[in-house]
Point group: C2
Chain length 237, copies 2
């Protein structure tokens, strides 16, 4: 199982306004060019038609490749799904370390950017399709595609957030005792019930509020809660 899945992050960069890399074939993750091409088509099928639309036959036909090649490359249908997740994860921009915020304004801006990125990614058609797929394939003791998505997607975002929070505390902009708890609060404030609603097919999800507005509100609330020099909260628990 999981025949082809190696290599970790490399060659990160991001400059434009999008969270995704523009070039469909740039986010190498250990697959050949042809394989990435096929995975791209698979992803498209998945987004358009959901789980059941992604049959090996349909993928072979849509991608102009043979089923035999699919099984040679990915070994298994689950291997294919895992490969899709890995492939997509390598396409998401993760602003790495480097320019950690120093001033208060920089910190707030970084927080805002993180919130917007999180919302953009989590509510994108691609991510929703992938999450639906992963959620649907969790069987009892786990260890399926869901685990792959958790590892390749969520964990990385979580790490970025942790670094950001640590930097904020180091700079004296925020104060917290438990980083994990603080992160969970931040996540909750940003996402709310938007993600699960979107996953369940509720179209109204974000349309009411722009992503920028939603992110701004979340950041403001987060700072209200965790900014140290402000109001006299007794920090329960």
């Amino acid at each position: 199982m999981l025949a082809a899945a190696g290599r970790s992050g490399q060659s990160e960069m991001g400059g434009d306004g999008s969270v995704f890399d523009g070039d469909p074939a740039s986010g190498d993750a250990g697959f050949s060019a042809r394989q990435n091409e096929v995975l791209e088509v698979a992803l498209r099928l998945l987004v358009e038609g959901g789980d059941r639309a992604l049959t090996t036959a349909a993928l072979a036909r849509a991608a102009n490749c043979s089923k035999e090649s699919l099984y040679k490359w990915f070994g298994d249908r689950d291997g294919l799904l895992a490969a899709i997740v890995t492939h997509q994860a390598s396409r998401v921009r993760i602003i790495d370390a480097a320019a950690l915020p120093k001033t208060r304004d920089e910190f707030e801006a970084a927080l805002q950017l993180f919130a917007e990125d999180l919302l953009t990614v989590l509510l994108s058609d691609t991510s929703l399709a992938l999450n639906r797929l992963s959620v649907g394939s969790v069987r009892g003791d786990n260890s399926g595609v869901g685990a792959v998505l958790l590892e390749r997607g969520k964990r990385r975002i979580e790490e970025r957030a942790h670094r950001l929070l640590e930097a904020g505390q180091a700079g004296g902009h925020i104060g917290f005792a438990d980083a994990a708890s603080a992160y969970q609060t931040l996540y909750g404030l940003i996402i709310g019930d938007l993600h699960i609603n979107a996953l369940l097919g509720d179209q109204s999800a974000v349309s009411t509020l722009s992503i920028g507005e939603q992110a701004r509100g979340a950041v403001a609330r987060f700072l209200t809660l965790y900014a140290p020099a402000k109001a006299g909260s007794k920090t329960s628990t």
Copy 2:
């Protein structure tokens, strides 16, 4: 489609500490005793084995009923799934109207109870299985089991929360301009990323923190944000 699914809420009651009714066959929702019995078995199969374990043949065998009866009762496999969701929704206790909180302490207690209930329900095996099922069956333009779950499950909780928040504002315990926004904040603070993690099969979900602790923290943060007479927050947005 959706052959047997009528009748709305009726005969609500709840007294013990659990969020679920104890009697498996009490939460009538328009189905006969035998049908509820079968739905109960279906729910068990779904929880134990996920989507793919719930085949009509397997259900018929496990519940000692014939496939023909299944199709007579629920018309369709989707009808069966919808019936399962409806059936389970009728089993969840929704503390209705009546004793709305007056004093500040009552309000906080009600908030705490709401948070604990929400966590208990959303992280229960049953709810997770149902959510996985619903999420997995969202095809493009929606209108599947996901919609049913949204309508029968989430909306009702949302309404309860709204009444609670309104009561809190009426009593002067909290202040907000937009109820929907306040609810979303409350939801986010309570759930965070626990729900999606649990849906993806992450066992560690709640084990770290007890539900009571998690709820307490969320309520404290919510009150910090929305209590009017406390610190001088400028209520952004």
